[in-house]
């Protein structure tokens, strides 16, 4: 599926000799993206494949072929408009804005001259997906390089034209200027209506952060107006000519088998088609309401096998290891030796329940078949992953599938998969028309996947003076992210134990990091209290990492930690941590109603450092949002399941944070312009739960060891601390 050298042939031979920066590629292969041929004249900046590019983090789909084609990242049109191509997707984390800022900065063009083309598999270079807080640290530098290379190319073209030294020219606002002659040429004039093509060097000169004008500033969200007027089209808003509406018959529970089915009355409804394809049963209708009616007219009986429920889940996870995914422990020194000699010993178990992402826009897709080619508009964090799923489901080639991602109603790690895309495609194929499928809230709560439940066991030992000597940490099922301790402990044994989860589980914003931080920072707090040392002082005493110390101190200072004295009605707690390059420290003030034990978080102060800040306002928005989202898992979110069924698959039954749960939030940003930018989508969430748990302990003397801590508003089960000294 390759077309030889489309760009090179587009480059006029007679002109190419006078353009030193613009190269012809004799070996290029353009795979599938014939669209590039249709781009207007101008400069196209590309990257030939390098091994490092394909090593981007995350779970690359196993079947993926490394890109063998030329990857185009940037196109500057004659009118000076810039198109930037990336496989990352905008889901509310504001990268459509922050990435454009980085490009505008390096390219020296106004921010609003940039259009980001994101997550369209026919138009953008392959990408593993948008997860793991990877966009800012990987795609940021990638696009900066492309933009800097384009700037250099334009400078060289101008220098060649004016027969002057490149170093004598300046570049700003989309124009190259010769200060000696005061002559200037816009980027469009420089490319002179020709199709030019530039392969980036390894090390284009990047703009030092200290000189940033557009990057590093609080540029407002791109196309913000479209979101307040209802004009933005989310995946569930997409409409196609002749489109029909689909719905899928769901089993009565997990692993159910169909015992009997009667679709006769559904089929009699006007305009309704019932589609059966193996175990798949769905309907299409002329309108969405009719599709739902048709679905409820189907009589189906299911048989459910017995299966685990919430009750006993943590024991189940511990006793059902997934041997196929076993991990090796991290060991240093000897925990058992240190344990036998310690002054202070503390051993405890912590648990987190399954929770749901519950993005406000449920899974949605519109699928359309044209001459054997399938196009699907859908909400997903992995457009190329969904393309692979569709190729597999329908036995299609890459060139036959296009996935388009309209900026979606978020995901929080919950939309890595393409269920709705496959369903819409199946129904569209059967109907011979474009079909839209939008999952109901109950479907989203039941048939998506969950953040894993987990059990964590910790054994820790310290000297009487509060110096940590041993740290043993076992995480069952929740995950290995941030499983290590940032504290100085000479003797460590740390291990993740994967389990055979009874529920379908997957990625989540700050997934295991949240559980591991909750356990570690709660346990650290317990040791501090056992040693009668202030929890902040105890942490600093055992911490050498200057970046973590800095956020801890900044958070405590802003919160007024030193002056806060807990009472039975009001508690103050602190916690800190690091993951994915983000350093966080969180202080929380909670109020506890003495009689009902109702908990309210009144105030949260969070200090954050993730290197150079690209957009301070966007970053604050992410961090405050992470705190609010964290309140749900910390206090009341949990999936209840029994006999293969989710028992609370509705917002009326599954409590998420609301306005009335929101504390006063203060964010302290430490902007380290000397350090590369890390991602900030996830780790802002991990400090909240332990800070709140520690505040509850400070007020009540009851140690919180299970998330959620207050389902139904009041404090969870009381457990007495296990002190051994």
């Amino acid at each position: 599926m390759s077309h030889a050298c489309d760009f090179a042939t587009a480059l006029p031979d007679s002109e190419s000799h006078r353009l030193p920066a613009v190269e012809r590629s004799a070996t290029c292969q353009v795979n599938r993206r014939t669209f590039l041929k249709g781009l207007s004249a101008g400069l196209l900046v590309v990257l030939t494949p390098t091994p490092s590019w394909s090593q981007e983090s995350g779970r690359a789909p196993g079947s993926h072929d490394l890109p063998q084609d030329i990857e185009a990242w940037l196109h500057i049109a004659q009118d000076g408009k810039v198109q930037v191509f990336t496989g990352k997707v905008e889901v509310g984390q504001n990268i459509r804005t922050s990435l454009a800022q980085l490009v505008a900065e390096e390219l020296r063009v106004p921010f609003d001259s940039i259009t980001m083309i994101m997550g369209d598999t026919d138009l953008v270079p392959w990408d593993a997906g948008t997860f793991g807080s990877r966009t800012t640290p990987t795609m940021g530098p990638q696009l900066r390089n492309m933009a800097a290379a384009a700037r250099e190319a334009l400078l060289e073209i101008a220098a060649h034209q004016w027969k002057v030294d490149v170093a004598s020219l300046s570049v700003a606002e989309g124009k190259v200027t010769n200060p000696a002659t005061s002559l200037s040429l816009s980027y469009g004039e420089l490319t002179r209506g020709e199709k030019l093509f530039k392969v980036v060097p390894d090390d284009p000169a990047l703009t030092p952060v200290a000189l940033w004008k557009i990057a590093g500033a609080s540029v407002p969200k791109a196309a913000g107006r479209d979101f307040v007027t209802g004009r933005h089209k989310y995946p569930s808003d997409i409409s196609r000519p002749g489109m029909m509406f689909g719905a899928v018959l769901r089993p009565d529970g997990f692993d159910a088998t169909l015992a009997s089915i009667d679709t006769a009355s559904a089929e009699k409804l006007p305009g309704v088609k019932v589609v059966r394809d193996g175990s798949f049963i769905g309907v299409v209708a002329l309108d969405a309401f009719a599709a739902q009616r048709a679905l409820s007219a189907i009589q189906a009986k299911w048989t459910l096998p017995p299966q685990p429920s919430n009750s006993g889940i943590f024991e189940f996870l511990k006793t059902h290891p997934d041997a196929s995914d076993a991990s090796t422990p991290h060991v240093s020194g000897s925990v058992s030796e240190a344990w036998s000699q310690a002054d202070l010993k503390l051993e405890a178990q912590y648990t987190v329940e399954y929770i749901a992402h519950a993005p406000l826009e449920p899974r949605a897709a519109v699928a359309e078949w044209n001459d054997g080619k399938l196009t699907v508009w859908t909400g997903t964090q992995r457009p190329f992953g969904v393309r692979d799923e569709l190729m597999q489901a329908f036995n299609l080639s890459q060139a036959q599938v296009r996935v388009i991602h309209p900026d979606m109603g978020s995901g929080y790690g919950g939309k890595h998969t393409g269920e709705a895309a496959i369903e819409a495609a199946r129904l569209a194929r059967a109907a011979g028309k474009p079909v839209k499928v939008v999952w109901s809230r109950t479907e989203e709560f039941t048939w998506a996947y969950f953040r894993p439940a987990g059990l964590i066991e910790i054994k820790a030992a310290a000297r009487r003076d509060g110096t940590l000597t041993a740290w043993e940490f076992h995480n069952y099922n929740s995950g290995p992210a941030a499983i290590g301790t940032p504290y100085m402990v000479p003797n460590q044994l740390i291990q993740f134990h994967p389990s055979r989860s009874p529920l379908r589980q997957g990625s989540y914003r700050g997934l295991a990091s949240t559980a591991n931080h909750f356990a570690r920072e709660s346990h650290m707090d317990a040791i501090a209290h056992a040693a009668a040392i202030d929890p902040l002082k105890f942490r600093l005493q055992n911490l050498s990492d200057p970046r973590l110390r800095a956020v801890l101190q900044a958070s405590a200072d802003k919160f007024g930690w030193a002056k806060m004295k807990s009472t039975p009605e009001r508690g103050f707690g602190i916690a800190c941590g690091v993951d994915k390059g983000g350093y966080v420290a969180t202080c929380a003030e909670v109020e506890i109603e003495p009689r009902t034990k109702k908990v309210r978080i009144r105030r949260v102060t969070q200090a954050w450092e993730s290197g150079t800040v690209v957009n301070p306002d966007g970053l604050r928005n992410q961090l405050a949002g992470a705190i609010v989202q964290g309140i749900g898992g910390a206090l009341f979110e949990r999936i209840l399941f029994f006999g293969g069924r989710i028992q609370n698959p509705r917002f009326a039954q599954y409590r998420v944070p609301r306005f009335s749960d929101t504390p006063a939030i203060e964010i302290v940003l430490l902007d380290r312009k000397d350090l590369p930018s890390a991602g900030a989508g996830e780790t802002g969430l991990v400090g909240l739960a332990p800070a709140v748990g520690n505040a509850i302990f400070a007020a009540t003397g009851v140690r919180m060891r299970s998330m959620p801590m207050a389902p139904g508003s009041a404090l969870n089960h009381e457990t007495s601390p296990v002190y051994r000294s």
Partner: protein, 159 residues
């Protein structure tokens, strides 16, 4: 199927639908007014909020037959010939959104609140808005945007 004449955003629109079909479904799927969102279908999240005779109403729980006699205003009808309402402006200025999926419902609910109580206290804002869910957790900024809109518009959030 029956024919209904609806007054939507000051325009009369004819539409055929079953009498019990929710207004949300009619707006989105029959009239392509997709600014109003589906979030739960049971009045718990507020994403589908529209104004019915000026009152914030859950369109997912309102059958079209019950909306036929009312003046319906959706998010698409709040900007006055292209110029944003005070609440819309405040949301942009405060950056009071992340993914933006809840934003239509938030803005419509806040508009109704400010028409009813032009200068609400924080407690009144929280009470009026508590039925609207933002999963991205932008509540503090939304609160600030509503305060801001109430201070900058003597007529509250009206167009």
């Amino acid at each position: 199927m029956a024919e209904f004449q609806l007054n939507i955003n000051s325009k009369l629109v004819k539409v055929e639908a079953p009498a019990e079909e929710p207004l949300l479904s009619v707006l989105r799927n029959r009239l392509d007014l997709t600014g109003t969102k589906y979030g739960c279908g049971e009045g718990q999240c507020g994403a589908c909020t529209v104004l019915l005779d000026g009152r914030a109403t859950r369109s997912c729980l309102t059958p079209i037959s019950a909306a036929a006699s009312a003046r319906i205003v959706t998010i698409e009808g709040l900007a006055d010939s292209g110029s944003l309402s005070a609440v819309q402006k405040a949301f942009v200025e405060e950056g009071a959104l992340q993914c933006g999926y809840c934003t239509s419902g938030m803005i419509v609910a806040a508009t109704a609140l400010l028409r009813r109580i032009p200068k609400p206290s924080d407690d009144q804002i929280v009470e009026a808005m508590n039925g609207n869910i933002c999963r991205c957790g932008t509540y503090p900024r939304i609160l600030e945007a509503i305060r801001h809109a109430s201070q900058h518009s003597t007529s509250g959030g009206s167009q």
